[in-house]
Symmetry: C2
Subunit: 358 residues, 2 copies
């Protein structure tokens, strides 16, 4: 087991990474100080890991309840979130009740937001079971739900007490979900670490076949990079925006097709190809680097061609991106691999990228 | 104009108190740095002060929109909150859009919670127009909504950039609303300042007839006391619980009758009489002090007899109070006027107080 520390002063927390961690009582024990625990999971993950987690908690002698939500991004809205609040209130959860998010990014985002809001804040632990959530959504404290007019528009910055990233859980992931997580692995390398990007190029086969050593290294490196970015800018004042490389286009794809059609990681994979195109078009990135990025995205079995939504619809959707200010869209682009920048772009170049990407 | 400063480090903010403040552009200007402002108000307050506030904002040249919500505690739930999010997204509000809460505690709590959650946090200003919200809910950063199983169960700690408490607005308050606010004035004195309590006893007539000087002094002293309590315990770890004097009983009354039947302040007024009874019964407070407190509550035209809900129902409702832990109810009781304590009580004494109070 490797432990990465996220350094946020009094809100600092450990990320434990390794195989077979869900069953380890001692990883949970220090963070459960009240009389009760509520596990929040979904219909897919509960049959796989619910019993194992409850067995790990049993020696602690707490009152453990479980809320099982429907699976998928299309359920990441208020009505589903409210089922967590109903469960908490019906079980008389108090301010010391610990919430445990057992599942992927949707479960983590909703459980974290519920923990942030229930009685104005209760403790929570993340047990991410997908690659995407292990490398991305369990680091940084972003929680929230979608609104029909925009993704993650309603939420909170709220840190977990600990993250338990069980690499073994990735073995049960559908191939499409593994690929979606790889999009964030590639993104993390591309914005921060050219050497790690080269390592991914060299190890994509091992990653694709779920080699535990390769996955553990990728998760560890992503958590380290993201932790350092978040530590420098917890509330997304500036630097942290680079983590949204590929996301401005990606969010537009997800919203434009309807949440749940493309997985978040698939949209980000394609969004990175689009952002690389725009980076070349605006004279930043060289064409060879763009081709390497697109090749890695494709090797991860992710889409590199954008869906047909129409230019105007793309632009309209991007204007509600949280990085936008007064209707001006800001993009994360690349100077080179490992070197991002945040900038506006001329409208004609954006339209050229949209035309070239579908 | 008097300005009370709430000292919370980088989240510190001023509370401006005085007559005719809603129209003063310079009180708002420093806190509006983005391109747009959204005023959130209700159907009662909009016709009284909406135009005045918009006129004050006009010289700033911002894009100003207004969301008008239905009036009353019974609307303090997710569906109403979501109308603020709809308005923000439809008007393309961004991370620098300032929300202004123009109204009483319900508007302040919902607008503050919307500001805490929209894009994970946007700036907001409170313009409290009721006595209750000027003395209580605009200080301390508590925001939130109700759940059918409990009041203020879903929310956030989130501080405004400034509070503009226009004493002139209290002149248009219905008598019942003024009285409800007086409950929090009395509560603030009783938990912290015996001299201020004596001042209230001596000045209740002036307060009841809306004397601006008397009201300004009461609002100022309440804000100072609450600000010092909140500065010592922003996240309600301990000391801050004393602010809930009268509220454990009061919340049970509100929830038991259905939100909106009794005003919050009416329930707190009666709840203080009940807490005083329990304080005497458990050997803390002397009977003369209890009589003084009940007399002041009655002089403020507040109820001192509790509604018939049945003992078991009262106890069940109090167990979901946020101060409860593992089902044990904690009460704020009085040692003497100005000296509170937080404690559990024997079940038979609680039942005796419930029996004596209806």
């Amino acid at each position: 087991m490797i432990t990465v520390s996220v350094d946020l002063g009094e809100r600092s927390y450990p990320i434990h990474i390794g195989p077979d961690l869900i069953g380890r009582t001692e990883l949970f024990a220090p963070h459960i100080t009240g009389a009760s625990v509520m596990i929040v999971t979904n219909t897919t993950v509960e049959p796989l890991y619910g019993a194992k987690l409850r067995a790990a908690l049993a020696p602690l002698g707490k009152d453990v309840s479980t809320v099982v939500l429907p699976d998928g991004e299309s359920h990441k809205h208020w009505e589903t979130l409210n089922r967590i609040f109903d469960g908490l209130l019906e079980s008389r959860a108090d301010r010391k009740t610990t919430l445990i998010a057992l599942g992927g990014g949707v479960i983590g985002d909703m459980t974290g937001f519920a923990a942030a809001c229930y009685m104005r804040g209760v403790p929570f632990i993340q047990v991410p079971t997908t690659l995407l959530s292990q490398v991305d959504s369990s680091v940084g404290g972003k929680t929230g739900i979608n609104h029909p007019l925009g993704k993650n528009m309603i939420g909170a910055f709220y840190q977990p007490l600990a993250v338990v990233a069980d690499i073994g859980a990735l073995g049960t992931l559908p191939e499409r979900e593994l690929a979606a997580g790889m999009a964030e692995v590639i993104k993390t390398a591309v914005i921060a670490d050219a050497e790690f990007f080269e390592w991914i190029e060299a190890n994509m086969d091992a990653l694709n076949r779920c080699d535990e050593g390769a996955l553990a290294h990728a998760v560890k490196r992503c958590c380290e990079i993201k932790a350092s970015v978040v530590a420098a800018d917890e509330r997304e004042g500036g630097l942290r925006a680079i983590l949204n490389f590929g996301h401005t286009f990606g969010h537009a794809i997800e919203a434009g097709l309807g949440y749940g059609q493309w997985l978040h990681g698939e949209a980000v994979g394609c969004g990175m190809a689009m952002a690389a195109d725009l980076s070349v078009r605006t004279g930043r990135l060289d064409e060879a680097a763009r081709r390497r990025l697109v090749a890695v995205v494709a090797a991860a079995r992710l889409p590199v061609r954008a869906p047909q939504l129409g230019d105007d619809r793309y632009i309209e959707l991007m204007k509600v991106d949280k990085k936008a200010e007064a209707g001006r869209i800001k993009f994360v682009l690349l100077e080179r691999i490992g070197q991002p920048c945040v900038t506006g772009v001329p409208a004609d170049m954006l339209r050229a990228t949209l035309a070239a990407s579908v």
